[in-house]
Symmetry: C2
Subunit: 273 residues, 2 copies
């Protein structure tokens, strides 16, 4: 069944995963909670009888979606790629879909091997948000000066210390401090592109923010978006962005935009990965 056989040597697998994060407590396994990582792990267990913890390219918070999250893990079981793909999609709920499943070089790691990541934030601007979009957009009727928001968005491009936009939760600080022994510049990230665009949709006008970077701090995209929404309604001048960055203080930036408008769009690796 499923072309399964065993071998002593471990094979490294890469999965590309889309998910509707609404009904999950985020990516990371947590006792007693439904999480994406936990669902994929338990599906693997049911299919191949081994349940390695899939390592994601990064955590997504409760309610955040993914168009193409990437995860890696090792299996002793031998199973043809199309068979594992089909078995996972047959086992997982419809809110989690495996888009791709294949074996990769043994040193591949979804987080450590990634070169860049892109996030997308979706805002609905119409008078009444259709119930079929409500889980996947932030519906806001505040005035939004798109030109000012794009001036602000441009000021994030480059290599900077983004600590003003990092979550101030103690959990993150603990993690950050622990990691800082090896990587003192943990809050320094490079943003390659950062742009708002308006896209017409059958359901009404959508405003999309896409940001591509070397990596992102916890809550960073939602804090960038919340700050630019303050710019859009005239509370913060776009020209104030460099000062907010320089302040190196979470309280200098704007609020955290809601999770349900955020999508992990894609993760980039070397060629053929």
């Amino acid at each position: 069944m499923n072309g399964i056989s065993s071998s002593a040597a471990l094979q490294t697998w890469k999965l590309v995963i889309a998910y509707d994060g609404t009904d999950y407590k985020g990516w990371q396994v947590q006792p007693g909670e439904r999480t994406i990582q936990g669902e994929v792990q338990s599906a693997l267990g049911r299919i191949v009888g081994e349940a390695p913890l899939p390592q994601g390219s990064g955590r997504t918070d409760a309610g955040v979606h993914a168009l193409a999250q990437v995860a890696s893990f090792e299996l002793a079981t031998r199973i043809p790629e199309p068979n594992l793909l089909r078995a996972l999609n047959g086992t997982l709920p419809p809110s989690i879909r495996i888009l791709e499943a294949r074996t990769v070089r043994s040193t591949f790691h979804a987080r450590h091997s990634s070169h860049a990541k892109t996030y997308e934030y979706r805002i609905f601007r119409g008078a009444c948000c259709p119930p079929f979009l409500a889980r996947y957009v932030y519906a806001s009727r505040w005035p939004m000066d798109l030109e000012a928001m794009n001036r602000a968005a441009q000021l994030f491009v480059g290599t900077r210390d983004f600590v003003s936009f990092a979550a101030s939760d103690p959990d993150l600080n603990a993690r950050t401090n622990a990691e800082q022994n090896n990587a003192p510049n943990i809050t320094v990230k490079t943003i390659f592109s950062s742009l708002w665009s308006e896209e017409p949709s059958m359901e009404g006008p959508l405003l999309l923010y896409r940001v591509r970077g070397s990596g992102f701090l916890h809550h960073m995209v939602r804090n960038l978006v919340g700050t630019m929404l303050d710019v859009g309604r005239g509370r913060i001048a776009p020209e104030a962005i460099p000062e907010i960055i320089a302040a190196r203080s979470r309280s200098a930036a704007g609020p955290t935009a809601p999770a349900h408008g955020l999508f992990l769009h894609s993760v980039e690796y070397g060629e053929d990965e």
Copy 2:
């Protein structure tokens, strides 16, 4: 607040309502269950202090969606139309949206006054159904001969006894028998149009069935669709449709298509209603 005042005379209201039916036990109030009718009724109670039961144009089953369901009820409270619209959308969950709220002639009734209704059924044909569509389509990889399905669809047009496509549940039979004292031809309905079409979407090919008729029996659209899906995969010849209708037996027709692909698309009334 909200421009509310009272009067002895009742005013009749018409609401147009969109909903994501996934998390509800259908339209109709049921003790201990979340239903659309129940949510609208309780929102009215919270806003105006009166909680009449909104009468829908028809019931929708658990999991069925609506792009534009219509409901009517009477209020003694006087409240400007835009204020009730805004207050309802502020009170109801994002999965239920009021698209229109206005006062109408006192004899208006969402069910009795309707001239025609249109339902839409959505099928996803791609290899892997995106999690963001999964609640709103039936994902099926069965072969579908669209030309044969449209030949079958045409054979439903006209005034016919559709009892072969009515749910065989005892509840319906009890209702049907009760109503038959006044309306012996309760299972005779007129279908004005019935058509399958393929629509490209960003997420992959969608197959849509739209049917417009004078009225529909319980499960009728889902049974029409299930029967045409059997036609599409070659199990039933399109030419067999007249025999299936003539059999006047639920067992002559195909299976019931899943609820989550079905949308109440629109309800038609006289001019200015």
